[in-house]
């Protein structure tokens, strides 16, 4: 798959989620921040995007601990995406 296709696939999975909250956060992140991530961070983001919304929300709100340092970095950036 080409890079643009991979990105499109990721865009679909970030903007057609179960909950509006997650469409806004992940979609906004993809648009504004994704291109500046390191390869490790990008990979960590793909893993986050593959989670179900009710697994991901507690990570974002800090109710659950991240699995590793890179994931924690990306979650911190996600938290920082202002929708407005």
């Amino acid at each position: 798959m080409e890079a643009s296709e991979e990105l499109n696939r990721l865009r679909w999975r970030c903007t057609r989620r179960a909950m509006l909250e997650m469409d806004l956060l992940l979609g906004g992140f993809l648009e504004r921040r994704f291109s500046s991530l390191t390869p490790e961070q990008a990979q960590a983001f793909v893993v986050l995007a593959d989670m179900e919304d009710l697994e991901l929300w507690p990570l974002i709100t800090g109710k659950r601990e991240c699995e590793n340092a890179v994931q924690a970095e990306v979650v911190a950036m996600l938290r920082d995406v202002r929708v407005k």
Binding site: E2, N8, D53
Partner: protein, 594 residues
């Protein structure tokens, strides 16, 4: 997409949608041994049913005495008498069985000490025909929808249901005699166009809340089922009725629960005035949803909205003790920081009444069969869940009745299909020679469009038009202008242009195709709303006020009827409301008051 070819696959039945309704229907088909394909734009457990937290209603009577007849009464009253009483009786009678069945599928309901399903109170649930509140809502913590989807999905895995994930259905296949013979769909990964030739087709595509600028619905709710049905000549029923929630975060739409006002939150306008004191001197900010929503819109329309466009009001909790906010409303602080960029401890939250649920849809009877405007059924076509209009919600849905709707009518539609396919063990009806022409023409148009309109901008224009002209509170001249405007937007939708013409994961194409569906929903809503010259349930018109002759502005003499919007001619016809239940006496017309 260089050249468009189409392959054909055969199934006994195809279900479009793998949310609660689609998954419930699929269990019936797969367990009966039908070769069934279930298509979904996303992995099944990512369907929007996940967002439902409140619960599902059933008169189990586990905590105190309850009866399906009382539930029926509440539902008819909630619907402002526009709901069909045969379908409502059917749903309320079947509710306990539907919930217990779900429990057997492994749904982890909250329990009482004796191990029964725990039930909590919910707005509009009353015992003894409206006398006093009763505990009727069954929930699995605050993740009822999520737990429900997982239980239904697991059951389908057991029954070997065949899923087509990340496939988008594009159009219905309907022959000259009006029979539905399946669907045409796009596989997102390859761009392949495939016909699913089936003896029966069930639509379970969910809602269409994205027609509004401010919506609590996730992006996936683009009304695809409604668009496909309308293009195939099926009239859409009661599209003017949309439920709004008063406090969605302005711009984002994310829901702020009523609990915030319960804890002392105050709504303010641009003059910093607590305006609810004028509209509801006693209940103030805690007045019922529709009263609060209408007051907010009046403030905005009269120029007292906040922000650069004066298009929202403020929900203020800055006077509350931060400790209370942290303790009682923790989720709300996170949502507000995340989606309004505002810490509600320090500054008020911008909010607007926000579109939440679609009461209308594809007309069905209580067997889940789709019905024509003349009352005959459409051979081979079924629908259930938010896309369908049975009609159990009428002009206004009762909380927790939509999860019930999708369980009961998901199963009913599945049973109808099983009976029809098994009884008439006939071969597939032949596909007409031109079955894919319209779809392919639409795709070709999109691939070759030059100097066209941007999908994003056109969608936004549609959403703003709906929000401004056909929102919570409706005005004659605004609606008339709204009809003209939405027809203008429709012209732009017919000319959308996409930059990306590739085949694999072309999300630009998919979004353009979704917009083709959204516009049908938006137009049917605007046209139906403009025509209905009364106030009823969620449809409230300024020129149909509360009078002695017509309490709440409801006019049963002229308007106790369902709207049917016909796409081809952009006209409306009407059909009577079924006031006769299946076994009990009709619930007589009355003013809806709580």
């Amino acid at each position: 997409m260089s050249k468009l070819t189409i392959s054909v696959r055969k199934f006994d039945a195809v279900i479009v949608g793998a949310g609660g309704a689609g998954l419930r229907a699929a269990i019936q088909l797969s367990e009966a041994g039908l070769k069934t394909a279930v298509l979904s734009k996303v992995f099944p457990t990512r369907s929007h049913t996940v967002a439902a937290q409140g619960g599902v209603s059933a008169s189990l009577g586990n905590s105190e005495e309850d009866h399906w007849h009382w539930h029926m009464y509440d539902t008819v009253k909630g619907s402002d008498w526009l709901g069909d009483q045969d379908a409502i009786e059917y749903m309320c009678r079947k509710a306990p069985e539907a919930v217990v069945e779900l429990e057997h599928f492994g749904m982890p309901f909250d329990r009482t000490d004796e191990g029964k399903i725990y039930q909590r109170p919910f707005g509009g649930h009353m015992s003894n025909f409206g006398e006093k509140p009763v505990r009727r809502a069954c929930a699995a913590a605050d993740r009822t929808g999520h737990a429900m989807l997982h239980a239904l999905y697991q059951r389908n895995v057991r029954a070997n249901t065949q899923f087509f994930v990340e496939w988008m259905a594009l159009d219905l296949i309907r022959d000259a005699e009006g029979h539905v013979l399946g669907i045409i769909a796009l596989e997102m990964e390859t761009g392949d166009i495939v016909a699913f030739h089936a003896k029966a087709t069930i639509f379970a595509t969910g809602g269409a809340g994205r027609i509004y600028y401010s919506s609590t619905n996730a992006f996936i709710n683009t009304g695809d089922g409604l668009g496909m049905a309308a293009r195939a000549g099926i009239a859409l029923e009661d599209m003017e009725f949309w439920q709004f929630h008063p406090t969605g975060v302005a711009g984002a739409g994310v829901l702020i629960t009523e609990g915030v006002r319960g804890e002392g939150g105050i709504l303010r306008n641009s003059d910093n005035e607590r305006f609810m004191e004028r509209y509801a001197p006693n209940a103030k900010d805690l007045a019922s949803r529709d009263v609060v929503s209408r007051a907010m819109v009046t403030e905005i329309n009269e120029g007292r909205g906040c922000g650069p466009h004066k298009d929202f009001v403020l929900l203020d909790i800055t006077h509350l003790d931060p400790a209370t906010i942290m303790k009682r409303l923790p989720g709300i602080r996170e949502i507000s920081i995340q989606f309004a960029g505002i810490d509600p401890i320090k500054a008020p939250i911008p909010v607007v009444p926000t579109c939440h649920y679609q009461m209308g849809g594809v007309p069905t009877n209580y067997h889940g069969q789709v019905v024509n405007a003349d009352g005959t059924t459409v051979p081979g076509f079924y629908a259930a869940g938010e896309v369908a209009c049975a009609s159990v919600h009428g002009a206004n849905r009762l909380g927790t009745n939509s999860l019930l709707d999708l369980l009961v009518f998901g199963k009913a539609s599945g049973d109808s299909v099983v009976e029809s396919v098994k009884k008439n063990a006939v071969a597939h009806k032949d596909l007409p020679a031109d079955f894919a022409d319209q779809t392919l023409a639409r795709l070709n148009r999109l691939n070759t469009q030059k100097s066209g309109a941007s999908v994003n901008e056109t969608r936004l224009e549609m959403q703003r038009t709906m929000q401004k002209h056909c929102g919570v509170f409706r005005f004659k001249d605004m609606l008339e202008e709204g009809v003209r405007k939405i027809c203008e937007v429709e012209k732009a939708v017919r000319l959308t242009e996409i930059g990306d013409k590739s085949n694999t994961w072309n999300t630009a194409r998919v979004e353009a195709l979704e917009l083709d569906n959204l516009i049908e929903v938006a137009k049917s809503t605007m046209v139906s709303a403009e025509a209905r010259k009364e106030s009823r349930g969620a449809h409230v018109r300024d020129d149909a006020p509360d009078t002695a002759a017509n309490p709440n502005g409801r006019d049963d003499e002229k308007w106790l009827k369902h709207s049917l919007w016909h796409r081809e001619t952009n006209t409306l016809s009407y059909k009577p409301v079924t006031l006769t239940p299946l076994s009990v006496e009709s619930i007589a017309l009355k003013t809806r008051a709580y």
